[in-house]
């Protein structure tokens, strides 16, 4: 039912998308002087307001990076908080230029909803959290046979949970609640042995538990939730800019270019660094994208490289303390792989 409605909305929107959004987003964005970025209304570590009302988070920083690439100024971005229901119509109607709202990349969204995903800024997936004080010795989800598992109703999470336990021939008792707050309260009060939702969510929930140190996130990931920024189909130029901003962040990390050392790096003799920072003679990489040649310098100056964005918002530098895991660079055993800039 939910999907049908989404599809109908999507198709309806698609019909109007051509008229609603002009073909050249880059020109539009340059004309109005800022990027309109759709973010989550509130998700710890990804997009949340600080005490002054400024948006912070991994998804938010990605939009700032795109603004830095386009304008050389990461503050030229305005944020539209969007709920899960209205995120796609907002993009299709041209209300926003980028959707950077922990959106899972799926074929349906790529085709029927008319989106183009620029990359995966965060590889998420459904995981389990248990109270280690209550269940000592459990260090794998496969040991959860017979456990009661807290889960939110009507989500794909619930289906994934059923599939996983069935596939592994394990018994379990789902404890289902309508509202996420109820799930949290039930788990915290010990109603269930385990809690399942997306792993990034588990870390955020752990912060609100009475004894967070007792709770452990198990290593198993039972579903694929690649989250990334999306743009409208039919504007390859804008798509390229968003996509290569993402790759630039990854390459900057790989080459060790950080917010602090980017100015020194401009004098580096390493041809790869010269190429990416636009200091190579007669470089055309930036201008071919429709940007200035020092676009990567501007990006890294604003938000730092991908690793810095990750650590500041969800990693060690944040209360969430999520480990890099599969979001590490490919050189360090993760999945983040920046296509070469040359």
């Amino acid at each position: 039912m939910k999907h049908t409605i989404a599809a109908i909305l999507g198709i309806a929107a698609l019909g109007f998308a051509a008229s609603a959004a002009s073909a050249d987003t880059l020109d539009d964005v340059k004309a109005k002087g800022f990027i309109q970025c759709g973010v989550n209304t509130g998700l710890a570590g990804f997009s949340a307001p600080d005490d002054k009302g400024e948006w912070t988070g991994l998804d938010v920083d990605f939009c700032r990076a795109v603004a830095a690439a386009v304008f050389g100024d990461g503050s030229k971005v305005k944020f539209t908080p969007l709920s899960a229901k209205d995120r796609f119509t907002a993009l299709q109607s041209g209300e926003i230029d980028i959707l950077s709202r922990n959106t899972t990349w799926t074929v349906n969204r790529d085709t029927a909803l008319g989106l183009n995903f620029a990359g995966v800024t965060y590889f998420d997936g459904q995981g389990f959290m248990i109270n280690a004080a209550k269940l000592p010795g459990v260090n794998s989800a496969l040991q959860l046979s017979g456990a009661s598992v807290c889960v939110q109703a009507g989500t794909t999470t619930e289906l994934n949970l059923a599939d996983y336990f069935k596939a592994n021939n394990l018994e379990y008792n789902p404890v289902v609640f309508e509202k996420i707050e109820e799930v949290n309260a039930a788990y915290d009060s010990g109603r269930c042995d385990a809690y399942t939702t997306d792993q990034s969510g588990l870390y955020a929930i752990r912060l609100t538990l009475a004894s967070p140190a007792d709770h452990v996130v198990l290593p198993e990931i039972i579903s694929k939730e690649p989250l990334g920024p999306a743009v409208r189909q039919g504007d390859d130029k804008w798509f390229d800019i968003v996509k290569w901003t993402y790759f630039a962040l990854l390459n900057a990390e790989e080459l060790g270019i950080t917010k602090a050392n980017v100015e020194e790096m401009k004098n580096s003799a390493n041809p790869e660094i010269k190429r990416i920072l636009g200091t190579e003679a007669e470089t055309k990489i930036g201008t071919d994208l429709g940007l200035a040649n020092d676009w990567v310098v501007n990006i890294v100056k604003t938000t730092g490289n991908y690793g810095e964005i990750f650590e500041n918002n969800v990693g060690a530098g944040s209360p969430l303390k999520i480990s890099r895991g599969i979001n590490a660079l490919w050189t360090k055993g993760g999945l983040q792989y920046g296509m070469p800039i040359r």
């Binding site: 109007f16 609603a20 209304t41 710890a44 005490d51 009302g53 229901k85 907002a90 140190a213």
Partner: protein, 385 residues
Amino acid sequence: MQEHDMSWVRTEMALAEAPPRTEAGAGAWIRKNLFATPVDAILTIFSALVVAWFLPQILNWSLFNAVWTGADRTACLTVDQGGSLPSGWSGACWAFVNAKFGQFMFGRYPIDERWRVILTAVIFVALLAPLLIPRVPYKRLNAILFFAVFPFIAYFLLVGGFFGLPYIETSLWGGLLVTLVISYVGIVVSLPLGIILALGRRSKMPIIKLICVIFIETVRGVPLVTVLFMASFMLPLFVPPGMTFDKFLRALVGVALFASAYMAEVVRGGLQAIPKGQYEGADSLGLGYWQKMGLIVMPQALKLVIPGIVNTFIGMFKDTTLVLIISMFDLLGIVKQHLSDANWATPQTAKSGLVFAAIVFWLFCFGMSRYSIYMERRLDTGHRR
């Protein structure tokens, strides 16, 4: 016959006897009101136990154990959770509300421009207070200022864009500001529009009547959520690009029309309660339609339906929280949004934030309710029992 036959005539009134000891004083009051029958006694003891059980806990949580100031989440964490409070501590994290207070009141309204909102609020209170106190003169002038002039002042101050005041997009507004602006517009629009619709629905002119019936029944037949959602996300797909209506304006129009339809039915209830004789009396005096309605029928009808009108206002005040689904952040919405700030994520944050929102909502609704009861008593000249 002799006139002074009686041996003694009392010349002054006898002093009243003091009531029996069992009928006066605190002891009697307690016996009469709390322990009159065995059932009463049981209920009293039970209630007292419930209060004795909960009150200390509530007070401990909200006042004695509460944390009032702090820079981030560690202020509200126990030793085991990585903070410095004793383990097992449970108390409100008012430090969270304290740190976010500006956000809860103004949303993302630029901090340097917040004086404009405060000034608007001061003018609002300065105009509203004398209007609510019956003794203060110049009611007509006051009402004109409040209902006709104030909206323009408020628009000029809050939105800006002229005379050197920077323009502030409504997408930056939030918190109590949004709640109050929507409620004010809803109330100011819905009462007159509701009266007109109610009169139209009872009109003898068929076309006017039909229009009013269709409007009222259509608006009442659709959930507010649907209207807000359509106005906010489907409308932009159907209008040409570049043509945008402000999202906040759309929400205002939606809420105001909604409240009007409900108000119309409340007022119609009052109109139906007025006996036919009142209409006929007005007719026999030779009054025209508007005189009849304005002088005879409406004053009586509105007085009757004060509880219904205030009920609608209170309902609308709380319905403003629905704008959350079109990603506008009223008080409740902004509190919930800030709960996602990982720098403040603690076991107590959500409770504290939501309790704060509840207290603010309660204060406004209770205020409206008390004022309506006061007004009812004051105006209840004909049917007082």
